[in-house]
């Protein structure tokens, strides 16, 4: 690290486990490359802010974490004097490719040297030269009317084309055949084999980050809970954590206990449901039905515990609203029943040769590609990357709980199923361990004041992988900028690589094994 610190004009600022390192434009690329190549760090997220109101500059933040160190290294670059370009780091760190395109779409800051500058989030129907996350931007009535088919200044989007004898294209979506979210996929295939796949996502883009800016910190929780339905709880934990860290509050043991417990229950219902859903991809109706019933039992438990099947309305800034430990018996008995049923159904799945045969060697994602693209969560662990936010940056009660993060090496659909299966068992034992202890303290502590123009990161491990919220306050006690990065945003770029070389009919199975959220990715 000394290599970066010694550079000219470097300013360092510390806040909890975050270290902000402000570098000059000249050193930006080298500093990022140094952290990535020499320290083998992981790019956690990258985003821009419009701080022209404070000191007339845009800023680019790149957040890294080095394995084995509970600390975020944040390289900050200030863009002053109406220079709307910054050096692209995509060629050195491929995981940055979506982040940089997103910054271009939302702020109009051009990553110089980026190999693919097509629009990412905004579709071609969005008016050109319009950048929603700039502070002085607001959409006019005419623009709103224009947005869509009637747009005057179009920015065309060209799909990649594969040429060659016998190659044909299959366009699918955005409205799919199943009860799933919208997205467009363009397969280039020879016979049944996928040669190339290009997804076009962001159909469900709802302007969430901009929408946070018009809300109070408290109302923001409701929005965070509705970014991705099945990860509602983890998203709100990460958001609340970020705000609590800005305000400098330490939540009570009891609140930590409730959050940890519900995070694990959320993981359990997702993993069990996902394993069942994979059976829908292979046509194993019994396995699918069993998984669905087990998941339903857990959803009803959620409802009994919190009044919401998706664990909404529990988190507040400073703690939680309900003491779910009062219903420890209900949790224990349901989890016990589910455990029995789950073990039963796993025996059935692993004993079904036709099911396993479809899963093995399908949708393989190599460790190399997964690492380069910054894949997270189940998908990363199935490809041999041991990355788990609960271990890498221990928070809540995770430093006191005994658990292992399981990895497989093959990176195929089967590996992703087995990682889920082992994590589900792990969650069951964590839930049991949590219920054995007592946790002291009030449900929540009062938030006195949120300091102006300060920022912090909040994070959690969702069932799909790590989620990050970076929140900055303004001088009126509202969010100035909220950057959210859901695990699906990191994992979507990997799906085409896993699909390549498979037959088209196996793609739904492959897609189900990742089980990514479109809404979480599209923001």
């Amino acid at each position: 690290m000394e290599e970066i610190y010694r550079k000219k004009g470097v300013k360092i600022r510390e806040h909890l486990n975050e270290q902000y390192i402000e570098v000059s434009r000249k050193d930006f690329k080298d500093s990022c490359a140094y952290l990535y190549e020499k320290k083998h760090s992981v790019l956690r997220l990258m985003f821009a802010t419009d701080e022209r109101r404070i000191d007339n500059s845009f800023r680019i933040y790149t957040v890294f974490s080095i394995p084995g160190i509970d600390r975020f290294f944040i390289i900050v670059l200030s863009l002053k004097d109406d220079d709307f370009t910054f050096p692209s780091i995509t060629t050195e760190i491929p995981a940055a490719h979506w982040y940089e395109r997103e910054i271009r779409d939302m702020f109009g800051l051009i990553p110089k040297g980026h190999p693919d500058l097509r629009r990412l989030i905004l579709h071609d129907s969005f008016p050109a030269n319009s950048y929603p996350l700039r502070k002085d931007w607001s959409i006019t009535e005419t623009d709103l009317r224009e947005w869509g088919e009637g747009v005057k200044q179009k920015e065309p989007y060209n799909f990649m084309e594969v040429e060659g004898e016998g190659i044909y294209e299959i366009p699918v979506g955005p409205v799919h055949a199943g009860i799933i979210e919208p997205g467009h996929f363009r397969f280039s295939a020879v016979g049944e084999t996928i040669v190339f796949l290009e997804p076009r996502l962001f159909y469900t883009h709802k302007g969430t980050e901009k929408h946070f800016e018009g809300m109070s910190f408290f109302d923001g929780i409701k929005l965070a809970e509705r970014v991705s339905g099945t990860s509602s709880f983890s998203h709100s934990v990460a958001y609340c954590m970020a705000v609590e860290r800005i305000a400098g509050i330490e939540i009570t043991e009891k609140a930590k206990g409730v959050r940890t417990l519900l995070l694990e229950i959320e993981r359990l219902y997702n993993h069990i449901g996902d394993i069942g859903n994979m059976c829908a991809g292979t046509g194993l109706a019994v396995g699918y039905a069993k998984g669905a019933v087990l998941k339903e039992n857990l959803m009803q438990l959620n409802d009994r515990l919190t009044g919401s099947r998706y664990l909404r309305g529990i988190n507040v800034i400073g703690g939680v609203t309900k003491d779910v430990f009062l219903q420890a018996d209900a949790i224990l008995s349901t989890v016990n029943d589910v455990t029995h049923g789950y073990k039963d159904s796993m025996r059935l799945l692993l004993g079904s040769a036709s099911h396993i045969e479809r899963l093995e060697n399908t949708g393989g994602l190599s460790k190399d590609i997964a690492q380069k693209l910054g894949v997270t969560g189940v998908a990363a662990r199935a490809s041999g990357i041991n990355d788990d936010i609960r271990k890498a940056h221990p928070h809540l009660l995770y430093d006191r709980l005994e658990f292992e993060s399981h990895t497989m090496t093959k990176g195929d659909v089967f590996a992703r199923m087995m990682v889920r299966a082992e994590e589900a068992e792990c969650s069951i034992s964590m839930i049991n361990a949590l219920l054995e202890n007592r946790y002291e303290g009030e449900l929540s502590v009062e938030v006195m004041e949120i300091p102006e123009y300060s920022s912090a990161i909040g994070y959690a491990e969702t069932p799909r992988g790590s989620v990050f919220y970076w929140v900055m306050s303004d001088n009126e006690g509202r969010p100035f900028r909220v950057k959210l990065r859901s695990p699906s945003y990191c994992n979507w770029p990997a799906v085409p690589f896993a699909g390549q070389g498979n037959i088209v009919p196996d793609f739904p199975l492959c897609n189900k094994s990742f089980n990514l959220s479109y809404s979480g990715c599209d923001m």
Binding site: P132, E149, V175, P182, Y203, K222, R226, S228, A292, R309
Partner: protein, 174 residues
């Protein structure tokens, strides 16, 4: 035995039993049973739904998926989700309608054969919900396609969706 069968033929009484885990009061159960008769009348024992996600957070989709699990088992009422709007009687739309899904939703609506009913499912379909006022949403389904019935809840529970379907049936058969 024979008496029993004859009695059943005469009264045409249908008994629907609900499995364990189907949390419902007896009055609601009675309503659902009569709902079945209405579907039988209006759509000759078959109502086909095409679900369209217009920017939902995905919670509503999972509740719709839950309808097909062995606990709710919506197929026994003759209701099912189909793969194409061409096969559908009803569109079940979720989400506040993101601007980038508007065109797709309109096209899906036009591809559905008459009577082309639309159910808007979830709080954000009514007025945009928590997303109301965001630049990238249309603040509700009715701003894009005509809506026949709303189901509230964030997300509505599977039982609430079944009840919503029932309301729609009332509207059709009077």
């Amino acid at each position: 035995m024979l008496k029993e069968i004859i009695k059943n033929i005469i009264t045409k009484k249908k008994v629907i039993t609900f499995p364990e885990g189907f949390n419902i009061s007896p009055e609601e159960a009675a309503k659902i049973v009569s709902f079945q008769e209405k579907i039988d009348r209006a759509f000759s024992r078959s109502l086909r739904i095409r679900q369209v996600d217009a920017g939902s957070c995905n919670a509503c989709e999972w509740e719709c998926t839950a309808l097909t699990n062995p606990i709710y088992d919506i197929q026994r009422f003759g209701i099912d989700f189909v793969a194409s709007p061409r096969h559908a009687d009803v569109l079940l739309v979720t989400g506040p309608v993101s601007r980038q899904m508007e065109l797709a939703l309109r096209k899906t609506y036009l591809a559905t054969p008459e009577p082309r009913l639309v159910i808007a499912c979830g709080d954000c379909t009514i007025d945009g919900g928590v997303y109301r006022g965001s630049y990238a949403v249309s603040n509700g389904v009715a701003n894009v396609v005509p809506v026949d019935c709303y189901i509230s809840g964030c997300p509505p529970t599977p039982i609430a969706i079944i009840k919503g379907l029932m309301e729609l049936m009332k509207k059709i058969s009077g």
